[in-house]
């Protein structure tokens, strides 16, 4: 089951990367990042069946950081939406030279 889990984790991570590369909506981009974090969590849990409980501890930390990232990131998205009335990443080009 470990090999299957690692393969599924790789596939989910790749789907997340493709989502980040093909979408423009900032909120959906965040969700794709969450999908990638979940894929990594699946690898951690699968390997923890072989190498001990340390993998599960790391998963707890990853979930904590993901929660913090989602809160701050979505607050930034709301702040940007107030300024530009859009969450389309092509409209957010203030730093472009």
């Amino acid at each position: 089951m470990v090999a299957e889990s690692l393969a599924l984790s790789a596939a989910l991570f790749t789907i997340g990367v493709i989502g980040v590369l093909t979408r423009r909506n900032a909120i959906i981009l965040f969700m794709c990042v969450e999908l990638m974090l979940n894929a990594v969590n699946l690898s951690f849990v699968a390997l923890s069946t072989l190498y001990g409980a340390a993998g599960q501890v790391f998963v707890l930390f990853v979930i904590t950081v993901a929660a913090a990232e989602a809160a701050v990131g979505l607050a930034i998205v709301i702040a940007i939406f107030r300024h530009r009335q859009s969450v389309n990443l092509d409209d957010i080009n203030l730093l472009k030279g």
């Binding site: 089951m1 889990s5 789907i15 997340g16 989502g19 093909t22 979940n38 340390a54």
Partner: protein, 181 residues
């Protein structure tokens, strides 16, 4: 671990949840509407929670349902509905032909690389460097005992620092997200 060690019932449900997770993830990246995408992502997270339970990580499975599917995705849905982005048919946010092809190529290359890496062997020196609790059952403390022992002994500094991180994130989210008068 051998495949014949697992009964058919176990393997069937393992593959079932894996395939549902994969299909839901594909539907998630292809939906135009953010709400539909978020709901498919919730489905992926529930399937992953089931897989965690099957991989003997019951506590992580519960945390996955409570924190990820229950809290983080609710925040996402809340923001999507708060911003009220209009009808999905009018504003498709999927990029054009060339970025899509490029993303497909990058995805294929990454998938091949990760598949090759997944077959590689874990180096022995890393293995011995990680403090690892014993996951064997029947010990006092049950299934959560080994995790708690590691979390509150070897990783207690990181555990405390993560509480600081969460406090900072709360304050940061409130400060960034409030309306300036």
């Amino acid at each position: 671990m051998n495949n014949e060690f697992y009964p058919l019932f176990f393997s069937f449900h393992f593959y079932l949840f894996g395939l549902i997770a994969l299909a839901s993830a594909l539907l998630f990246v292809t939906r135009k509407s953010p709400v539909a995408a978020a709901l498919w992502l919730v489905n992926v997270m529930f399937c992953l929670a089931a897989l965690y339970v099957m991989l003997d990580a019951q506590f992580i499975g519960a945390i996955q349902v409570l924190v990820y599917a229950g809290a983080i995705m609710v925040v996402f849905l809340f923001v999507v509905m708060l911003l009220n982005l209009g009808r999905p048919e009018d504003v498709s946010d999927i990029r054009g032909q060339f970025p899509r092809l490029a993303a497909g190529a990058v995805g294929l290359a990454l998938l091949a690389e990760v598949m090759v890496l997944a077959r590689a062997k874990f180096p022995a020196q890393i293995e011995s460097a990680i403090p690892s609790g014993d996951l064997s059952r029947g010990e006092p403390g049950g299934i959560i005992g080994p995790v708690a022992e590691l979390l509150l002994k070897d990783y207690v500094l990181a555990f405390e620092l993560s509480s600081m991180l969460l406090l900072t994130a709360i304050v940061g989210a409130v400060v960034i997200g409030r309306k300036r008068s």
